[in-house]
Subunit: 226 residues, 2 copies
C-alpha cells in the first residue's frame, strides 16, 4: 500500500495546526505553510480544495473525537443518574475537562490543538465562526439542557450567559499560556509560561465552578435607573 497520500495530507494538517495557532488564519500564508510541511505549494489545493477547506479539515480531525467524547460522557452520566439531574461539577468537568485532556495526549493534537482552539474561537472571519458554531451546536445544546436540569433555580438566560463566560475563561487560560501575556509578571513566568494540561485543569476548574454557582445578579431592567 502506498500511504504517500496520507503522509502529505497529515503533514499539511500538522503544519496548519501549528501555524494557524501561532499566526492565526489570515496571518498564515500557503507558501509558508507548504514550506514548513515540506510539500508542494499546489498540494493544499489538490487535497483540501482551498485554504478554507484546509482550516475545516484541521478542526474536523480533532473535533470528531472531542465532541463525540463529550456526548458519550454525557449519555453515560445521564444513564447512570437514571432520571435524576446531574451535578453541575460533573457537567463542567465533562465539557471542559475533556478538552483539557486533549492537551495531554499528543495523538489528539496536544497543547498545540488546545492553543489553536483557544485562539480560533475569536477569529473574526465569518466563515470560521459559522463553521465552529455549526460543529458545536449539538454538543452545546445537550450540555445547556443538562445545566438547566442541574440548576433549576437559575434562569435559562443566565445559564447561557455563564456558559459563554466559562468558554471565555477557558479560552484565555489556554491562549494565555503562550500568546497573550497581559497579566504576565514573575508569577506566571518560566515554569508556568507553558503549564501542563493537568495544571491548567486543576486551576481552571474551581474558577469555572465558582463562577457558574455564583449568587444571581439582581436584575433591575436593562436601562439604568434614570
Amino acid at each position: 500500500m502506498n500511504d504517500t497520500i496520507n503522509d502529505t495530507r497529515e503533514r499539511i494538517l500538522d503544519a496548519a495546526e501549528r501555524l494557524f495557532m501561532a499566526h492565526g488564519y489570515e496571518g498564515t500564508s500557503m507558501r509558508l505553510l507548504t514550506t514548513e510541511a515540506a510539500v508542494n505549494l499546489a498540494a493544499v489545493n489538490y487535497h483540501f480544495g482551498s485554504k478554507e477547506g484546509l482550516l475545516q479539515a484541521v478542526f474536523r480531525r480533532r473535533l470528531v473525537w472531542l465532541n463525540g467524547e463529550r456526548l458519550r460522557l454525557l449519555n453515560e452520566m445521564e444513564a447512570k443518574a437514571n432520571g435524576a439531574p446531574l451535578r453541575p461539577s460533573q457537567i463542567v468537568e465533562a465539557f471542559f475537562g475533556t478538552l483539557l485532556t486533549m492537551g495531554e495526549r499528543e495523538e489528539l493534537g496536544g497543547m498545540t490543538f488546545l492553543r489553536l482552539i483557544g485562539r480560533t474561537l475569536t477569529e473574526p472571519a465569518d466563515f470560521i465562526r459559522a463553521f465552529l458554531a455549526s460543529e458545536y451546536s449539538e454538543v452545546v445544546d445537550r450540555y445547556k439542557a443538562a445545566l438547566y436540569r442541574a440548576l433549576p433555580e437559575v434562569t435559562r438566560e443566565e445559564i447561557a450567559w455563564r456558559f459563554q463566560f466559562m468558554l471565555g475563561a477557558m479560552s484565555y487560560a489556554i491562549a494565555g499560556t503562550d500568546a497573550l501575556r497581559i497579566v504576565g509578571g514573575p508569577e506566571l513566568a518560566s515554569d508556568t509560561a507553558h503549564p501542563t494540561a493537568h495544571e491548567l485543569k486543576v486551576r481552571l476548574m474551581p474558577f469555572l465552578l465558582g463562577g457558574l454557582r455564583a449568587p444571581l445578579p439582581e436584575m433591575d431592567g436593562k436601562a439604568s435607573p434614570h
Copy 2:
C-alpha cells in the same frame, strides 16, 4: 481655525475602530477603511505613518482615559482605606466596571470600542500583543498588588491565573455579544444579542467574583499521579 486635520484624523480613527472590531486587524484593508472614512487612501500614511501606527493610535485614544481612570479609582480607594486591604469586589468592580462603563458612553467609544478590546486581546500579530502588554503593564501590576493584599490566603500565582481567567470571561462576554455565537440559542437571541453595557455588567460581575473567590485547588504537583 482650521480643523480639517482633526476631522480627517478622527474620521480615520472612527472607521478603524469599527472595522478592526468587525473584521480584525489583518482582515481590514486600508482601501476599505479610507473609503468608509471618506478620506484619501494616502491620508492614513500621512497621519499615522503606517497601518501599525493607526492601530496604536486607535487604542491610545481610548486607553489613556480607561487606564487613567482605573489608576485614579484605585488610588482613591486606597487613600480612603487608610492602609487596610481593599475588598476583592471593590477591586474587580473598579477594574472591569470601568471598562464596561465605557460601553455606555458614546464619547468614549461605546460598545464599538468594548467589542474591539474584547477581540483584539487575542489578535495573533506579535506587535499587537506587545503593544497592549506595555500599555497595560502599569495598571495590571497595581491591581494585582491590590488583590494580593485583599486575598492574603491565596498565592500570588493563583491570583495571577485568576486575573487571566477574569480577563477571558470578560473578553468573551463582550465579543460574544455580536461575534462569536457558539453558545447561541433562543436564550441569547434578539433581545440579548446586543445587550446594553449595563446588562453585561450586571451579569458578568457576579460570575467574576464567584470565580475569584472559589475554593483553592488542591495542588498535587504537575505530573498526573501515574
